[in-house]
Structure formats: structure tokens, C-alpha cells
């Protein structure tokens, strides 16, 4: 058995794990953020160990390092908390500050469920952009099971954490975030978020996508997947890997005049 080509750094108490090329860090970093009551690695099923073991055999995944971010759901109160968590890591990764092993030039953001609202919040809260060129450094944005208009579950008793408010359909926090996004997108622009919804998703559903448009989003894509299953690969030939490869593929070169 040959030595792995990547190192795996895991900080259980910090809800943080990093998969980095062993010889030389990749120039790009893919950042994963989980959803409500998820966890930094478990949410993504087999994906972390698949990337650790085989990313370098699957272009374009070889050109990226990976960080899985997490948080304790009870510790966040609103999407700004998530955005700040994300911004802090991006600032460190951009500067190559510890524990990152390199200074990253390009970022891909991938979120699941509530995590996607944290990403949306980061995009429009320019005060959190460190470096100020953050939006220009974003390669792609992929939102799995994003609550386009919250989740019907949020009104039930088992959703007990303060941040549940962000997930209530048409909640003030959600309305504010959407208006903020709409107004921020016009002057600033960011890569069009790729939105994946699940036909079997009983948590956030998919029908609101027909009614609610978020500024800049690509038209939502609909796959026959459930809320949790859509981010858990069953192997290399599966939907979540397809979306990951799309998210990390080189951007098309603009045609010469």
C-alpha cells in the first residue's frame, strides 16, 4: 500500500478538518459548511475519506485542498454568526495563517441547508470580506438543500435552537437576508450560486424555488434525493460528486475577440 498523497488534520473540539496535499498545498481551497444540527464531517458521509484517499486521482479535485467547517447549532443565533465563522476561516486561508499550510488564491464554497444561509450572508455582508477582494477570489458557490423560503419544520417544537428563527418560512431574518442579498448583488456580483434541491427533500422542500428567486442564483436544479442523502456520496459515481466536480472544474476561458 502506497503512502497517501494528502495529510488529514482534524480538530474535534474546534469542529474543523482539513485535507491538504502533502508535498505542496494546492492553490485552491474548497470550504464545506454543514446545516442545522449537522456536524462538520458526519454530514458529508463518505466524502471526506474519499477525498483524502483519492482526490488526486480525480481531476479537477487534485487542484484543491479541502476544509470542513462546523459549529454547534445551539451556539449560533443568526446567519451572521455563520458568516463570520466562514469569514474568519477564509481570512486565515487567504493569508496562509496557521493551521493552513498555504495561502490560497481561489475558494469554492459548498454549504448544506442552514450552512447555505451562512454563505449567502457572507456574500452580501461586505464588512466581513477579508480580504476585500474576497468575491473576486470565489471560484464557485454550491448550495445543497438550501432553504429558499425556510423550512416547514422550523415551526415545530423539536427545532429548539435560536437560529431556528432563520429557518421559519418568511421569517424576518430570512426576509432581511433576501433583501440584503438582492441589494448587494447588483453592485458587487459574485459567481452565480448553483442551487441543488431534492425532490425527496422533506426538510426544506423544493417548490418554493418556483416562487422565490434569490438574486444571482442559477436556476435551481432538482435531483431525486432527500435532504440528508444529497450530500452523502455512495461512491464516485453519484450526484454529490458530480456537483463537486462541477464546482471545482476550471472556469471556461472567455472566447477571444
Amino acid at each position: 500500500m502506497s503512502l497517501p498523497t494528502r495529510d488529514f488534520l482534524d480538530r474535534t473540539a474546534d469542529h474543523w478538518a482539513y485535507i491538504v496535499r502533502r508535498e505542496q498545498p494546492a492553490p485552491n481551497l474548497a470550504v464545506f459548511l454543514h446545516g442545522y444540527t449537522g456536524d462538520y464531517l458526519g454530514t458529508w458521509g463518505r466524502l471526506p475519506h474519499m477525498l483524502y484517499e483519492e482526490a488526486d486521482a480525480h481531476p479537477p479535485l487534485a487542484d484543491w485542498d479541502y476544509v470542513f467547517l462546523g459549529y454547534r447549532t445551539g451556539a449560533v443565533e443568526c446567519c451572521l454568526d455563520l458568516a463570520r465563522r466562514l469569514a474568519t476561516e477564509l481570512a486565515k486561508a487567504h493569508a496562509g495563517a496557521a493551521p493552513y499550510r498555504g495561502a490560497y488564491a481561489r475558494f469554492a464554497l459548498l454549504g448544506h441547508s442552514l450552512g447555505t444561509l451562512g454563505i449567502r450572508q457572507l456574500l452580501c455582508a461586505s464588512v466581513l470580506h477579508t480580504p476585500p477582494t474576497l468575491l473576486e477570489q470565489l471560484h464557485s458557490i454550491t448550495l445543497f438543500g438550501t432553504p429558499v423560503n425556510g423550512s416547514p419544520l422550523a415551526r415545530f417544537g423539536q427545532w429548539v435552537f435560536p437560529v431556528s428563527d432563520a429557518l421559519r418560512p418568511a421569517s424576518p431574518q430570512l426576509r432581511m437576508l433576501k433583501a440584503w442579498t438582492d441589494s448587494s448583488y447588483q453592485p458587487r456580483r459574485w459567481p452565480a450560486p448553483r442551487v441543488l434541491l431534492g425532490l425527496e427533500d422533506q426538510v426544506v422542500g423544493h417548490k418554493f424555488a418556483d416562487l422565490v428567486n434569490w438574486a444571482g442564483d442559477e436556476p435551481a436544479r432538482l435531483e431525486s434525493l432527500g435532504h440528508s442523502a444529497m450530500v452523502k456520496p455512495t461512491g464516485w459515481d453519484c450526484t454529490v460528486v458530480d456537483y463537486l466536480v462541477q464546482a471545482l472544474s476550471p472556469l471556461p476561458v472567455p472566447a477571444a475577440r
Binding site: 480538530r11 462538520y40 458521509g45 415545530f156 417544537g157
Partner: protein, 382 residues
């Protein structure tokens, strides 16, 4: 392949430091002190007594006699444990032994190296298993990975030489499969799930039901009755309004508002239990899952109605896998949605959810079968 080939000393130190503050680490003071070998001159800390003292390992520590310790750690099926202090101590010991099993799993998957933890683990395990009462507790309740850990840290020969009763367990330790570097990442994913479970109040409520009550063996706690009633019979109006039932229904139905509320939470925990364990099981697909199965033998056995008595799995509890979880409950707990009339909506996701739950049950059945095989458990009826 040795884990040192893919795990740098710096990374290992960082992992160990993080694990030391992980949410599932034992917090009970009494056993925590017992784990740390104390010099003979060390006075008792905070007035707690120590198994080391009880066996003469720390003569300056004021502690109970070995006989008293044996009484505290007696099998609960011989005499119920009603004293709160005894129950706290037993719980602390259980957490400590579970943590040691988790550390064995970490070693077996290359998450940490033996060199990094050898001394601490050797001392802890030696201190514990040299205490007759603790040793008997381990034999009574079954912590299969401890024997594997004893062998790994080089304690097996000493234990086997001193106590013939331990030889069968130590001899049955399977050979370890070759280590694959990717298993450390699988284990890290499992740890992240495990940490999440420890903070999930619904899951904790359900696991409390799974645990065999030590204080009133043979009697179902009211919550269990309430939960079983709730799972079988699903009045739509309870769920829609989250209102609570009036007092004292017939047997098998919720007994009161508090029970109903707790049962509702535990029912949610049941669904998460199945989903979470199935996810953990899938994480290790394609690898040797013997160690994982051994680690989860106790909760998954309890899910199927069996409690461990050493190498016996005695059916003393309800079989939750066979419990008729009404699809409508499943729908409610998973989605928070109640159809009116229940299940009759044209686009009900009931079939998909039921299939998902059944797939989770199938994974748990696989896990339980391997757990029996891995630990040499014999299923017996009372």
C-alpha cells in the same frame, strides 16, 4: 502500514489535546481520580475514594474496603442500585470504560499512534483491571474492546497470568487487520457524529430508555410505556397541536403530560438513533467493521431488546426494531408535517420515509449480527 507513516507527531499532539476536551469525555470525579495512579503519599482528592486505595495501590488515600467497592459495583440484576452516589459512581465508571473502548477504536483506525498514548493507557487500564471489583464489573457488563486494548498496550500477559478468569477474553481477541490510512478519516467522521449524538437531547432521551434501569429491574419506566403507546397509536390531533394527553390512559398508553412530552422527544431520538447508527455503519463500508460493531454492541443490542451480561446477551428489554412505528409518526418526526387526514394526502412522502427508515433498520440488523460475532455473544432468553 504504521500510522506514524501518515500521521505527524504535531498532528497527533493536536488531536490528543482536542480529544482531552471532547464532550463525551468522562466527567465524573470519582473514577477520573481512580484512573490517575497516585503516589502513596497523595492524600485523597476532594474526599473521593479511589479503587486504587481500595486495593492497596495508594495506601494513603482514605477509601472504602474492597468489599464495599464490590458492593457498589455489584450486578444490578442481583440487587437493584438505588443509592444516588452509587449510581453516579457506576455511571462515571461506565463512561470511563466506554472512553477507553473509543480510544481502542482510535488506535485500531490509526487516528492516534500507540506511542503517543501508550503510557497513559497502560497505567489507566492496569489500575482499573487490577481492581477486583472493577474487573468483575467489566466481566459482568461486557466491554469487549478493553481486552483488545489490554493486548495492544502489552498488559494481556500480566492479566492472564494473574487471573485465569480473564484468559478466555484475552485469548479471543482477533488479529488486527492491516491499517489503511483512510480509516483515520472514517474514524474522525464517526467521532464527529458521536460528538453530535452526545449533545442531542432527543437521542439521549431515547438512549435512557434503552439502558436497563438499575434501580427497578423488571419494571418498565412510565416513559417507555408512554413512548410505545405513542408509537402504536397516532392521534392526529396530539401531533397537530402538540397538546398533551390527559392523565392515566390504559396500559400501554401515555400516562400523563410529562410522560407524553418525554416520549415525544424519545420517539424523535429513536428515529435519529436509527439514522445515526446507519450513517456510522455506512462510513466504514468496505472495511473491517468488527471493532465498530464491538464498540456499538451495547446500544445496538439494547435496541434489539438485549442487555449484555458479560458474553451473554439476555433479552430483558423491548425490541425497538420490531416496534410498529406508525408511518404517520415517522412522517411527523422526520418532517414535522401532519397530513389531514393522516397519510391521505396525494403527495404523501410516507412511502419514501418508511423505506428510508427500513433501510436504517436493515443496517442496524447487520451491525448487531456482526457485534454478536465479534464479541462471541450468546443470545439468551431470561
Amino acid at each position: 502500514m504504521s500510522p506514524s507513516a501518515f500521521l505527524s507527531p504535531d498532528e497527533e499532539q493536536a488531536r490528543l489535546a482536542q480529544l482531552a476536551v471532547a464532550p463525551w469525555r468522562p466527567t465524573g470525579p470519582a473514577v477520573g481520580e481512580a484512573l490517575a495512579p497516585q503516589p502513596a503519599t497523595t492524600p485523597g482528592l476532594k474526599g473521593h475514594w479511589s479503587p486504587l486505595a481500595a486495593t492497596g495501590g495508594g495506601s494513603a488515600v482514605a477509601g472504602p474496603s474492597a468489599a464495599l467497592l464490590q458492593r457498589w459495583l455489584r450486578p444490578h440484576w442481583e440487587a437493584p442500585v438505588t443509592d444516588p452516589a452509587q449510581r453516579r459512581f457506576r455511571q462515571s465508571l461506565h463512561e470511563t470504560l466506554t472512553d477507553l473502548q473509543l480510544q481502542e477504536l482510535a488506535l485500531a483506525n490509526g487516528y492516534v499512534t500507540l506511542a503517543g498514548v501508550h503510557t497513559a493507557l497502560y497505567e489507566q487500564l492496569r489500575a482499573l483491571l487490577s481492581t477486583t471489583a472493577v474487573q468483575q464489573y467489566v466481566l459482568d457488563y461486557g466491554y469487549p474492546l478493553l481486552w483488545q486494548l489490554a493486548q495492544r498496550v502489552g498488559l494481556a500477559d500480566e492479566l492472564a497470568g494473574r487471573d485465569p478468569a480473564l484468559r478466555p477474553m484475552l485469548a479471543a481477541v482477533p488479529d488486527q487487520p492491516p491499517l489503511a490510512p483512510g480509516n483515520q478519516v472514517r474514524f474522525a467522521s464517526f467521532l464527529s457524529l458521536y460528538g453530535q449524538w452526545q449533545q442531542d437531547s432527543a437521542l439521549q432521551a431515547f438512549q435512557q430508555l434503552l439502558a436497563e434501569p438499575e434501580q427497578s429491574a423488571g419494571q418498565s419506566p412510565p416513559t417507555e410505556q408512554a413512548l410505545r403507546g405513542l408509537l402504536r397509536r397516532v392521534p392526529a390531533d396530539w401531533l397537530r397541536t402538540l397538546s398533551l394527553l390527559p392523565e392515566s390512559g390504559p396500559a400501554g398508553e401515555p400516562a400523563g403530560p410529562a410522560d407524553t412530552a418525554l416520549a415525544l422527544q424519545a420517539a424523535s431520538g429513536l428515529v435519529r438513533f436509527v439514522e445515526g447508527l446507519a450513517n456510522a455503519w455506512q462510513l466504514f463500508a468496505g472495511t473491517d467493521r468488527t471493532g465498530l460493531a464491538a464498540f456499538l454492541a451495547r446500544p445496538v443490542g439494547a435496541f434489539f431488546g438485549y442487555h449484555l451480561r458479560g458474553q451473554q446477551a439476555l433479552r430483558t428489554g423491548p425490541d425497538w426494531s420490531g416496534e410498529a412505528v406508525a408511518p404517520e409518526v415517522l412522517l411527523y418526526l422526520t418532517t414535522g408535517t401532519v397530513f389531514d387526514p393522516i397519510g391521505a394526502a396525494p403527495e404523501t412522502p410516507l412511502p419514501a420515509l418508511t423505506a428510508q427508515y427500513q433501510a436504517g433498520l436493515h443496517s442496524l440488523a447487520e451491525l448487531w449480527a456482526l457485534a454478536q460475532q465479534a464479541t462471541g455473544l450468546r443470545l439468551t432468553e431470561p
